[in-house]
Amino acid sequence: MAVKISSSPMRVTVSLSGEIDHHNAAVLRMEADEAIQSKLAPNVRLDFNEVTFMDSSAIGFVLGRYRIVESYGGNVEVINLTRRQFAMMKLAGLENVVKLKTKK
């Protein structure tokens, strides 16, 4: 499975894996949104630790989740980004709306 979900009352963590492109984003979106919308947790974490490739579809994916979480007053953070993934998200201006964290 491409998405693993863990949750506590305050936080839903969506752990993504594999390659995020336009083709794969559709499934990731469905699985992530099901978890996000059933919990409505104030903090949603998107964990990129196991993501091996991304193109701009991943940026659309993060923006889409941000819009949902923002609509009920929550916030989104994206964690475990490689330097390259971080740079792409910055290029898109994502840091203005979500918290971006690189891998240690």
Partner: protein
Amino acid sequence: MKPINKMILKTDSRSINESFVRICVSAFAAQLDPDIEELSDVKTAVSEAVTNCIVHAYPDKVGEITVKVFIYENRAVKIIIRDKGRGIKDIKKAMEPLFTTLGGERAGLGFAVMESFCDKVSVRSAPGKGTTVNLTKTFVSRTYENE
């Protein structure tokens, strides 16, 4: 300049082929011994171009995508991605970051990403005539300090 090697690939504009095409192109470009970052640049740029064919060129049918790759002695790679789809009315506008005709979850960053990962991106297109995207990248010469 004459290429030292070339390959041509034709495939249907099915989204499952996005990964197939980018992997093929990067496997071919690997002959020039780029580093991992450079190869990721190629993969990402190709993924954007192929996605454009699938979502924009052939929005409601399956068409053909042709990908040609040339490699050169100076460690340059040229990738030509061509479709016979709907074409682009205003290329300059299409290439603007964050511009998208699709809304939804398309970020409008396809061309911006291609431009940031390639040395040169050029686009030829006309409505009804399809689109050709040229991507060029020269890999930096390697220095083998430990050898």
